[in-house]
């Protein structure tokens, strides 16, 4: 299973094997990774699963849809490499993906 690494804002990191087909958000929630709230449960309507994706990985991800960018507008301290983790589906190619969670989600 692909390994996904979650790093929180103070640098603590957790690497989790996430089943292909789950989202990076689901991988976090199911494994009690803190730093991702996902209040709306993956509906792209709350921006509380906001993560920063490392530059080298950003280009390997399918581009964010407009609706995702619209939600990221409302996220806590968005940056160029901001994504919603509920919109990143884990595939074989994402083995090793590292995401950083913001200081807080809202």
């Amino acid at each position: 299973m692909p390994k996904i690494t979650y790093i929180d804002s103070s640098g603590n990191q957790k690497t989790i094997e996430v089943e292909i087909g789950l989202t990076v958000m689901e991988g976090a929630i199911q494994n009690n990774v803190t730093g991702i709230d996902a209040d709306c449960g993956g509906g792209m309507s709350c921006a509380t699963c906001h993560v920063y994706v490392k530059e080298e990985w950003l280009n390997k991800l399918p581009k964010a849809e407009d609706a995702e960018q619209d939600m990221i507008d409302m996220a806590f301290q968005p940056q160029k490499n901001s994504r919603l983790s509920c919109q990143i589906t884990v595939t074989e190619n994402l083995d090793g993906l590292t995401v950083t969670t913001p200081e807080k989600q809202n």
Binding site: S45, D70, D73, M74, F76, N106
Partner: protein, 338 residues
């Protein structure tokens, strides 16, 4: 003090439907919601987006579902207390006493929490020290625009609220609108109006900038905004208007002594009662093995909770299960003509 058979906290789809389930059993209800209108997430988050999994309705928007539910519960004349939040819940013998932030008191044997993920609040600026300006020179909504007349206003956000207020206030004040990217999600028409005004020098649009810091003492004097490549810019500002949508906060519910797991309330699946007798939790806010956060699951949870509510509110009456198609009593309660 308002006496009733059941107080419902939250007027989202699930809160609305439980009014129906309690109503056909002859129970009176009062509903309290922090928002200014019924509909909950359906109205706040996706009024125009279609929902495809309401049984029997192939597709309807959040607003359409809300409107239909409101129509469906009309016969039961439930009282809505909007813009109001329950702050305190206390037990008094077999009853629950609820107090709201507006000073209203409710007394009821049943409290049904259909609070979704909590109450909606504006998303606040993520700048240290911004709280001290809140309500004075930093606002998350506009109630009286006259105070902005001939002032310097910095508006943050890329949605309709930000664009609409930029356009409106540009008539009476000096407006700068600041957004983190070139694309705006607000109505294209409003944006093109603003761009016209920008060419005429009547409004200033700064994209790919975010707030960096606020300068001022009692009131805001200026703000510093920062671009993606760390370019900084100072803008003289009397008022900040920030429109970053709403967030959901659980609020005081967390302090009512209910068994909780993170942000959700544990219930049993027989009647969706919490660890406190007479307090029920249904919809997104409740948790049990296998829970799905679907509107249809919330409807089911409300139906089952209403049976226990009936037993508590009418201890001397026997509960009889009836179908709406055939029960004369239900037809009377629905106000149908014979």
């Amino acid at each position: 003090m308002i006496n009733t058979d059941a107080v419902i906290i939250g007027a989202g789809p699930v809160g609305l439907f439980v009014i129906h389930q309690l109503g056909i059993k002859g129970l009176k209800t009062e509903v309290i919601d922090n928002l200014d209108k019924a509909g909950g997430q359906c109205i706040e988050l996706y009024p125009d987006k279609p929902i495809y999994d309401i049984p029997g309705i192939p597709s309807c928007t959040g607003k359409e579902l809300t409107d239909k539910l409101i129509e469906q519960i009309k016969p039961f004349k439930s009282n809505f207390h909007l813009n109001e939040r329950v702050e305190e819940v206390k037990q008094e013998e077999d009853f629950w006493i609820l107090k709201t932030n507006k000073g209203k008191t409710f007394k009821s044997k049943n409290v049904v929490i259909a609070g979704g993920v909590g109450s909606f609040e504006p998303r606040k600026l993520s700048i240290k020290g911004s709280e001290k300006y809140e309500g004075k020179s930093l606002f998350y909504s506009v109630s009286d625009k006259t105070k902005f007349k001939n002032k310097k206003i910095s508006i943050f956000g890329g949605g309709d609220s930000a664009l609409d207020w930029a356009l409106e206030l540009s008539k009476i004040s000096k407006v700068t609108i600041i957004h983190r990217r070139d694309e705006f999600r607000g109505a294209p028409h409003t944006l093109s109006e603003l761009k016209k005004l920008e060419k005429l020098g009547k409004v200033s649009i700064k994209t790919k900038y975010q707030i960096d810091s606020i300068e001022g003492d009692k009131n805001i004097k200026s703000i510093i905004i920062k671009s993606d490549d760390d370019k900084k810019m100072k803008i003289d500002t009397d008022y900040i208007l920030s429109f970053f949508g709403l967030i959901m906060k659980l609020g005081p519910i967390a302090e009512w002594g209910l068994n909780m797991d993170k942000k959700v309330i544990n219930v049993n699946t027989n009647n969706f009662q919490t660890n406190k007798k007479g307090i029920f939790a249904i919809g997104d806010i409740c948790s049990y093995p296998g829970k799905l956060k679907l509107i249809l699951s919330g409807f089911h949870e409300g139906a089952l909770a209403s049976v226990e509510c009936f037993k508590r509110a009418r201890p001397n009456e026997k509960y009889r299960f009836e179908f709406t198609t055939s029960s004369k009593q239900i037809h009377e309660r629905l106000g149908l003509k014979k």
